[in-house]
């Protein structure tokens, strides 16, 4: 295993932990597993990441790896975390944002739609970049975002108007 130092670990946590938290929340509708997902992604980065061409390339790699980790959590049913009482007290998940209005409407969408919407409208990725992160075709991203927006218009109704972007 390639060794890493504290500075590298701190860089990763400070730069990407919140990004992974938001992605985990979008994927899993909870913040409970976010720390574990961070651990998985950061260990993979520190020991097996490829050389990156740019900060954008690195960030996309982090997201792609976190997406796969979220999918693994979705498939997991038996794993439990056991810890001493004191440690359990420290391991509380970050509080979830108040879930109402637009956020609630997005989170209520199927994963197929809410994840591309998050990557586009919050992280600012293009359809082509989202296709690369999620390992799907750009045309598929286009149709999922379009369908997600239509569902949102229907659920949010008049308060947010009918115009799309």
């Amino acid at each position: 295993m390639e060794r890493f130092d504290r500075a590298q670990a701190e860089y990763l946590v400070q730069t990407y932990a919140d990004l992974i938290l938001r992605l985990s929340y979008t994927y899993l509708r909870s913040t409970q597993d976010a720390e574990d997902i961070c651990q998985t992604v950061f260990l993979k980065y520190l020991t097996a990441a490829p050389p990156f061409e740019s900060p954008a390339h690195e960030r996309a790699w982090i997201l792609k790896t976190a997406v796969n980790a979220c999918k693994d959590v979705l498939r997991s049913a038996w794993r439990t975390r056991t810890c001493g009482l004191e440690a359990c007290g420290e391991a509380a998940a970050p509080p979830m944002p108040e879930d109402h209005g637009v956020l609630a409407a997005v989170q209520a969408l199927p994963e197929l739609y809410r994840v591309p919407l998050y990557l586009h409208y919050y992280e600012g990725y293009t359809f082509r970049e989202i296709a690369e992160i999620l390992n799907i075709r750009p045309a598929t991203v286009n149709s999922r975002i379009d369908r997600g927006r239509r569902r949102l218009r229907k659920s949010l109704g008049g308060e947010y108007g009918e115009q799309g972007t």
Partner: protein, 359 residues
């Protein structure tokens, strides 16, 4: 998304962040993991090139006419096992690439991953018309791979099967068969036959045929056993059923197995088994003696501190239940899919700790 909604969405997600204390804890956890020497997959690019050549050769050997999938087992199983353990999957799995077509649908056996007792096979169903599959709950009216496996192995098996449609816009979906075979996964050729693809109604009471077809394909079973035996000598333990001698405890990245025989049954279990023998046909008595014989506390402890309660394993087989010394075998595939041996610390069986040494 209109501007107002867009801004509100962004503002609400901005509030989601780790505290500095949580971030500091994450750094400490990373450093502790390094000190514990937890291994992670090494750079795999070179290994992948070698594996691709080997996989292609294996596919040519195994597939015969009609081969369609020639790739890595890890790529085929990405929708099932994720992408975190590709090296392990490619070591214990292999591509198959055998297809059958009928009624405008081609079913291809893409890949197999197996060990001594556990097996997963992934198939791709492709529509010839290029249209996407309807989003629904599917089943086959007949899927006899499990029966074929039981016939070939000379024993029962248990497991699960399910459909996955990762990209609802394309004309493909996957079907996964996962099973644990009591007598072990046999070697040699096996034929899988599927008939009539159906969709369940919402209540899962009635299914309707949507593709009237029969698909039959034959492929090779060649398991590379990655199991490790945890027992150096038999172990005597007290269980809900009585005093048992555990003779075998094995674990692999795919699953586990615990086997043994009862030296002495307790009175409660003897009574429950007798009740089962005396019960009128078709009626299970209130007390299930089989549960008492096979409900052993088995827990897998991983190096990261998490645990997996294997007592919930659904699979077991029993022999000689009419005697005073029934034999048992408890085992299952891991629901998580793949757990590297290097991530495992120890297993406890009825409270006895058994270290796991990755080979």
């Amino acid at each position: 998304m209109v501007n107002k909604a867009h801004k509100e969405y962004q503002d609400m997600l901005h509030t989601l962040h780790f505290s500095e204390e949580q971030k500091a804890r994450m750094v400490e956890r990373l450093m502790r993991t390094q000190e514990a020497g937890q291994t992670t997959p090494p750079r795999t690019r070179q290994v992948r090139r070698v594996a691709l050549a080997a996989a292609a050769a294996a596919a040519v050997l195994a597939a015969g006419a009609g081969a369609a999938y020639v790739g890595l087992a890890s790529d085929a199983f990405a929708s099932v096992f994720g992408t975190a353990h590709t090296e392990i999957i490619d070591k214990i799995g292999y591509p198959v690439g055998v297809s059958a077509s009928d009624a405008g649908v081609t079913i291809t056996a893409d890949a197999i991953v197996a060990d001594r007792s556990n097996l997963s096979v992934i198939f791709t169903l492709t529509r010839a018309d290029g249209q996407p599959w309807e989003q629904a709950s599917y089943r086959f009216a007949e899927d006899d791979l499990s029966r074929a496996m039981a016939w070939k192995a000379g024993s029962g098996n248990h497991g699960a099967s399910w459909f996955v449609d990762d990209d609802p816009q394309d004309a493909e979906m996957q079907y996964i068969q996962q099973m644990t075979v009591s007598n072990g996964v046999p070697k040699g050729k096996i034929t899988a036959t599927f008939r009539d693809l159906q969709i369940w109604d919402e209540a899962y009471r009635k299914s309707t045929t949507v593709v009237d077809g029969t698909w039959k394909m034959t492929f090779d079973l060649q398991c590379a056993d990655s199991s490790v035996e945890l027992l150096e000598r038999p172990l005597t333990v007290q269980t809900d059923g009585g005093m048992a001698r555990i003779q075998k405890v094995t674990v692999s990245p795919l699953g586990f197995q615990v086997a043994g025989v009862y030296e002495q049954l307790n009175a409660q279990t003897q009574a429950a088994l007798q009740e089962m023998r005396d019960a009128p046909g078709g009626r299970m008595p209130d007390r299930n003696g089989y549960d008492q014989l096979t409900s052993l506390p088995i827990v897998l402890h991983l190096k990261d501190g998490s645990t997996i309660d294997l007592r919930k394993a659904t699979g077991y087989s029993l022999q000689d239940t009419a005697s005073d010394h029934p034999a048992f075998q408890i085992g299952d595939s891991f629901v998580d899919g793949i757990i590297p041996l290097a991530d495992m610390d120890y297993m406890t069986v009825c409270g006895v700790q058994l270290p796991i040494r990755a080979e």
